[in-house]
Amino acid sequence: MAIGETRAHHEALGLDEDDLRRLYYHMLVARRVDERSWILNRQGKAAFVISCQGQEAAQVGAAYNLRPGYDYLYPYYRDSGMTLLLGQTPRGQFLSILGRAEDPNSGGRQMPGHFSDRGLNIVTTSAPVGVQYPQATGTALAFKMRGEDGVALVCGGEASTSGGDWHEAMNFAGIHDLPVVFLIENNVYSISTPAPAQVAGAIARRAEGFGFPGYEVDGNDVLAVYEVAREAFERARRGEGPTLIEAKTYRITAHSSDDDDRRYREREEIEEWRLKDPIVRFEKYLLENGVLDEAGRDEIDERIKAEVAEASAYAEKAPFAEPESVLTGVYAEA
């Protein structure tokens, strides 16, 4: 499926207008939080930013199938679109970006993008790329052992398929028909390395070799992602096993605030992809289908912007953890 127009088929998917507005809201909130983070970075307030921009449709579309606090999510560092959808807040995100004591992910211990939320079953994440895949299969196996219909959604960029962990997990999931959904957000770059130097063949086609389905989907089409992910979640809940989804998308920003992407990609390429911006595309769909009008859209955006401003301001004023706190919490007590 090539990247194209969002298909007018939400009714066919069983999504009502509230669903659509929810999807839209969460895509936009992720975008606006991200944009604000860059401002904090440019102001010298945030040491590090790593962005979801461009990938919001893939994230929100897939994660919309999760039952928060029941299913498990193993996100990767760009998946703020998912964690915000599940119930993390802009405030929490800014607290994390600024490394404050109240950072819900790590209390300021970890870099931004290292999500964690026990209540929401967002499993604590780290930086080594790919480690989440075997972990997610274990979580899925626990569901299966107990006869529960929980699903583990595990995500990564296309480069996360280059490491052995991805493969070991794919094989294990295939052997035991585990209820796990692998979502690869293929955004064309791994820092500076373009996909052809990273990925041989085609990611989605690899699932076949493990005996389960793999789909390539237009990752900038939130409904298309939702649809294929829904199929995957249902399959997992029926006990039929894993699914691999490769969402073709694009990283609009530099890899992170530490990266200067002019070293390795042309401005034109980015501009081209900006035209395919998943939020703009979905907006168009909503306008065309009468779900939103311009005023309604502006109203949502204003609401989000206010929320983001408040959250950012809150975080900026929030205290750091005590320096000495780094010494504690190394071992859990029985």
Binding site: Y72, G138, T139, G329
Partner: protein, 328 residues
């Protein structure tokens, strides 16, 4: 009450934990029908089924990684690594993931997994079924590394490991699996992680050792008492990380003469840490240099028997070191 060797004691500890807690499970290569290459898990699959005693693919990163994910979803997995030498592909999942789960999530997620791994030189094992792997893991806060030697301790400590809310690397010296039997009572006392054991008291010198070297050290200590009246205090760390510094230091301060023996390649081994702690905190009590004895700094034990026997510290070498120390 029954006498058991190390292997049987660990087996029994596992079985009892699995009986009393449904979330406890075992996973690893060939742990099921085959019962593991050393037979530690023999019979468990029959009793607990294929799901709770799971034969995994040959993929150590997956074994530990999936154990982490199982623990995040309510299970208490015990992962078996077939030989300690093959734990290397799981290094990332152990030191970067399991060990940091609790700290990095600011206490929200913990990682109660146990990783069992046989280690140490064995005849016919060659370079890759012989290594002493403990130093790789003993610079990693958040992880616990235990290496019990005697059967009753091992049974108690596998239980402590499983119940511990943190990741525990449980090391089993292959040559001690069947070396001795001892009484392992049904109401075996608990042995908490982090407590060393004083095997014999003595006023003249201290020897710290674990694994096969502990047995050898105990034998030599008996011999030197009998032959020369030398009173050796023998201390077994049992937990290698974090160390029970107090017990070790107490002995060092008492005797003033300190030797640590380990089978690992000497340089960079856990015995370096033990020696460093003593050199720092028992300095005023020391009557002799802090001594260490280990295997030579070569990759690992060789296959050919005469070559292997030359590699592992022998009773003669241990005796010589003890006498050198005593002579100060």
């Amino acid at each position: 009450m029954a006498t058991k060797n190390l292997l049987q004691a660990i087996h029994e500890g596992l079985a009892e934990e699995m009986r009393s807690d449904e979330s406890v499970m075992v996973l690893g290569e060939d742990v099921g029908r085959a019962g593991g290459v050393f037979r530690v898990t023999q019979g468990l699959q029959e009793e607990f089924g294929e799901a709770r005693v799971l034969d995994t693919p040959l993929a150590e990163s997956l074994i530990v990684g999936s154990a982490i994910g199982l623990s995040a979803n309510g299970m208490r997995p015990v992962a078996e690594i077939q030989f300690g030498d093959f734990i290397t592909p799981a290094f990332d999942q152990i030191v970067n993931e399991a060990a940091k789960f609790y700290y990095r999530s600011n206490g929200a997620w913990n990682c109660p997994i146990t990783i069992r791994a046989p280690y140490g030189a064995v005849h016919g094992g060659g370079l890759y079924h012989s290594q002493s792997i403990e130093a790789w893991f003993s610079n990693t806060p958040g992880l616990k590394v235990v290496a019990p030697t005697f059967p009753a301790d091992a049974k108690a400590m596998i239980k402590s490991a499983i119940r511990d809310p943190n990741p525990v690397l449980f090391l089993e010296h292959k040559r001690t699996y069947r070396l001795i039997k001892e009484d392992v009572p049904d109401d075996n006392p608990e042995v908490p992680i982090g407590e060393a054991r004083v095997h014999r008291e003595g006023a003249d010198i201290t020897v710290v050792a674990y694994g096969l070297m502990l047995y050898t050290a105990l034998e030599v200590a008996d011999k030197l008492l009998e032959e020369q009246g030398l009173e050796t205090e023998v201390v077994e760390p049992r937990t290698l990380y974090p160390l029970d510094k107090e017990t070790i230091l107490e002995s060092a301060r008492k005797t003033g003469k300190f030797l640590v023996v380990s089978e690992a390649n000497l340089t960079g081994s856990v015995s370096a840490e033990i020696a460093a702690v003593v050199a720092r905190e028992a300095f005023e009590w020391l009557d002799a240099p802090v001594m260490r004895l280990g295997s030579p700094d070569v990759p690992a034990a060789a296959f050919a028997r005469p070559m292997m026997d030359h590699f592992v510290p022998s009773a003669e070498k241990i005796e010589a070191a003890m006498l050198e120390l005593a002579a100060y």
